[in-house]
Symmetry: C2
Subunit: 107 residues, 2 copies
Amino acid sequence: MAREQNPGGIDLLILQLLSEKEMYGYEMVTELAKRSQSVFRLKEGTLYPLLHRLEKEGAVSAYEEKVEGRVRRYYRITRRGRGKLREQREAWVRYAGAVNAVLCAAG
Amino acid sequence: MAREQNPGGIDLLILQLLSEKEMYGYEMVTELAKRSQSVFRLKEGTLYPLLHRLEKEGAVSAYEEKVEGRVRRYYRITRRGRGKLREQREAWVRYAGAVNAVLCAAG
DNA sequence: TACTATACATAGATTCTCTAGGCATGTCAA
DNA sequence: TTGACATGCCTAGAGAATCTATGTATAGTA
C-alpha cells in the first residue's frame, strides 16, 4: 500500500526541522509541539532511537557541544537527508490527497 | 503522540466507504484503488483481518449472500461504527493540519 | 530538600500493515 | 480441455513505527 513508507511520519517532521537549522533532540520535541499546537508531543523514547537510525542511514550527522554544563547533541541534515526529505514530502502530499479523495468522493 | 490512533489509516477509509453503502471485501479493494487513483492498493491479507477486527469491535456487521455461484460477505456500518468514523475523521483533519503546519512554517 | 525543566539514552510491548501463502468458482482463449 | 485470469474469501508470520516505562545526570527554584 501507500502506507509502506509511512507518509507523514516522524522522519518527515524531523528532516523538515533540520532542513531549516541545526537542532538538538530536546529542541525538536518542543519545536514540534509548538508548530503543531501540541498535536505532536513526541516522546524521547520515540525520538532518540529515530535520530540514531537517521544518522546510521546517513540522512543526518551529529556533533556534541557543551552548553550550560550540559552536553547537547546537535544534528544537521545531509545531502542524502535532503533527498529523503523531498521524497517524503511528495509521498505525504500524494497520501493526504488520496485520503481526502476517499473522504470527499461522496461530497 | 497524535499518531496513537493512526490517523488516516485503513480503518478510516473502510468506515467511510461503508457509511455510503454496504460492500463486500473485494469491492472495497477496487473502490479504494479507483478513488485514490491507485495510491491505495489494499492487500487482502491486510483487509480481511481488519474487517474481522472491526466486526469484533462492533463497528460493522456482516451477512453472507450467494451471488453468481460465489459467496460474498457483505458488511454494513453500525451506529458505533459511525461514531468511530466521526472520531477518526476528526483525528485525520487534526493530524493532516499539524503536518502541514510543520511543513509550511518556514514558507 | 524536593520538585521541575533540561538533556540524553535503552528495553520491551503494541499496533498496523505487509508478504506469502491457501482454497474455490467462473470465464475465456488456445 | 487445459491454462490463465478475475473474482472472492481466508490465515500465519514478519517487519516497521511508535508507545510506555525506566534510567542517568545537571541546573534552577520553591
